[in-house]
Symmetry: C2
Subunit: 427 residues, 2 copies
């Protein structure tokens, strides 16, 4: 039998691209044994073909369209990121009959349904395991092994940068502004950290997971998104005393026929399995109606773990081609109906400064109680003695809209000079 | 378009079978939406067709061969367990052109390579996600998303019964014999607990995982196996003081071109992610050359979680049939070469009784040192004051064969009256 070959065109050769190239080289023998196919990188598209690299320059081109149009290439690995030109190139590749493996969370969050339907109609593979959770298998288990479940809740630490920053704040008792430069120096945060610290990256990822779990694409505009810039070391300390850690979570949950998707810092009990996912590690916890609780964790970013996911997808492509499989893209429809965050019922952490502590407690409790929010008084404590008049408490369950009204009512009239922080609590 | 149907024959209707039936009913609409196929249970084979059950009696038959030979049935779900008649029926089903989904770890551990090759040659699906880790996706992620990695180590808590018992011993300070009846009363342990507590179940499961990870079947006869009957609450307590928990682990690791597979109680540092997998939960931790550390956990047994895995596999069968996919059995070859436990380099915990403590320490250290085993003296301590002359220590790294010789040398001559326990340590 002639040796089967899979000829790849790679778009992008940054950390993930070079990692994937190296993995295909280093583990070539075992990958070939598992697939019966020799996976070869034929062409690599880059911005600057002259930049010194560890490969012979002939493999590189700046003409990305020429790769996607090359009839000798049967599979495209898209590692450019962003939607333009990545989206156009992926679409062109599929229209040209090429399988696609991508690590592009933004593209899949914005155009996933359309692209997967296109792949399906062409009987091609479109895989994107690397788009969420780096090397941790998440997307395919959700599509396959867990697919019989109704997902009742899903919570993920999906961004390594923010988890690194929050973990450092927690362990070193430092503020966000102190930790960020260190994260940048270590290469864990970008010079412009907006995409990570303001929760965009987590938003793309939880949207992709929610779209798979619920079978219809969640519009990212309908995801409630808050980042971690406003988290202070004081809140970290209160969280610790109260038995919690603060994590940036992507959360999704069905509400009737709708789904609510949100990204925000969260008080998570120290006993929750996600609470011990620290540093640049990612984790996904989900509760399904039959499987119960399942948890996945591992390195959610970086060259080698992400390359692991890309190569895993390529192995599936190679196997499908070997058996003349007609592609395994699993489409989901557009327009998942969503539920607003305002109907959320949650407990809340709140930290305020009062004008005159002994007198105002009753006024605050009354003002909040009138808006349907009761204080879980047992939790009322203060641990920062020099911050005079600072009060921290946890509320009982209340709706988000009631809570917002209650917070708005905490003015000088009831003796509150400043609301420092409000953070949702998962129990 | 006519509605597509997948007609199932189920062999066995115990806890997993009834769970799978219920899941297919309860989540029928969403499963049909995801697969475009209506999955129907056509026949169920049982031992006693007259036993009162929650389904109409016509669906049951005691003639299991008639199900496997029924031309109207396209997929068999095997939930009998054991190798006979399950093995014969699975083989017959495949030879009759039927896809097979099984939860049978013993069958796959003993005959996996042969059966998967048979399925592959017939272009049929043979899935067995439920055989290991209940509802936790493990087998398919290892075959697919992680398949590009060389697995450098894999450790799993794969048996809920023993993990429940060990967790109870640890939390209640109780001995094995005290906890076992409670586990039996709660339905977590069988009347004859041999299969679980002596490590057979874990042996089957880690063998299946190792066979997939290394691409060739590991003969179970070559797996080193120890159970948990000899673990005492005293050892639990020492483990705690020394910073460890005791878990029954299935472990596999490559040694050159061979693989060493072992099942035994293990001192695991409290900081290891598997250390907090408690009760009936299972967990698998693995280290791959590119992905780094990945961890999976969840409910590893029971009606509903195992049903989740069975139905996940059926969803894949339905999708493959819908796209005229020619089957996705991923074969592995027989005869993986194995490495003996005697060449293992490990640290060890050892608890002994001495005849006269102050005098014998030097003799013991000398006797062990002469066999190449040094005592990590810093760890020498005793916490059970009434057990006079009891000494506990951890060794430095030594080979298993040296350690065994060293233990054999601990006789009355060097002042040792009894070796209570030796347990391997993972660091």
């Amino acid at each position: 039998m002639a040796e089967r070959r899979l000829r790849l065109g790679m778009l992008g050769y940054g950390t993930v691209g070079s990692g994937a190239y190296r993995m295909l080289e280093d583990n070539q023998a075992s990958i070939q044994a598992k697939t019966g196919t020799r996976i070869e990188v034929a062409r690599i598209g880059v911005k600057d073909a002259q930049k010194p690299r560890d490969l012979s320059p002939e493999i590189f081109t700046t003409d990305l369209d020429s790769i996607v149009n090359d009839p000798e290439i049967d599979t495209i690995v898209e590692l450019i990121g962003g939607t333009d030109p990545a989206g156009r190139l992926v679409e062109l590749a599929l229209n040209n009959g090429k399988n696609v493996v991508t690590a592009n969370k933004e593209l899949m969050a914005k155009h996933g349904s359309r692209l997967v339907h296109l792949a399906k109609s062409k009987r091609l593979d479109l895989h994107y395991e690397a788009a969420v959770g780096g090397g941790i298998p998440l997307i395919q288990p959700l599509k396959h092994q867990l697919a019989g479940n109704d997902v009742l809740k899903m919570m993920g630490i999906l961004n390594g940068t923010t988890n690194f920053i929050l973990t450092a704040m927690q362990q070193d008792g430092a503020d966000f502004a102190e930790v960020l430069p260190d994260a940048q120096a270590k290469g864990y945060a970008e010079a412009d950290p907006t995409n990570d610290v303001d929760g965009f990256d987590t938003m793309y990822k939880i949207s992709v997971l929610a779209s798979i779990a619920f079978g219809r694409q969640v519009a990212i505009e309908e995801v409630h998104r808050e980042g971690i810039r406003s988290i202070s070391k004081v809140d970290m300390k209160y969280a610790d005393v109260l038995g919690y850690v603060i994590k940036l979570l992507g959360i999704c949950e069905p509400v009737g026929d709708r789904v609510r998707v949100r990204v925000h810092p969260t008080f998570l009990p120290k006993t929750h399995p996600l609470a011990s996912v620290n540093g640049v590690y990612n984790g996904l916890w989900l509760h399904g109606d039959f499987v119960g609780d399942v948890m996945f964790s591992g390195r959610g970013a970086g060259s080698d773990p992400t390359a692991s996911a890309v190569v895993g997808d390529l192995i599936d492509v190679a196997r499908n081609m070997a058996i003349d499989g007609p592609g395994s893209a699993l489409p989901y429809d557009p327009d998942m109906p969503t539920e607003s965050i305002t109907t959320l019922r949650s407990r809340y952490y709140i930290r305020i400064r009062t004008l005159d502590r002994p007198l105002v407690l009753g006024k605050i409790a009354t003002a909040m109680g009138q808006r349907g929010v009761s204080i879980a008084a047992m939790e009322m404590k203060t641990i920062v003695p020099h911050e005079e008049g600072e009060i921290v408490f946890l509320t009982d369950y209340a709706t988000e809209s009631d809570f917002r009204e209650a917070v708005a009512s905490l003015t000088a009239e009831v003796g509150v000079s400043k609301v420092h922080a409000t953070i949702r609590v998962e129990d």
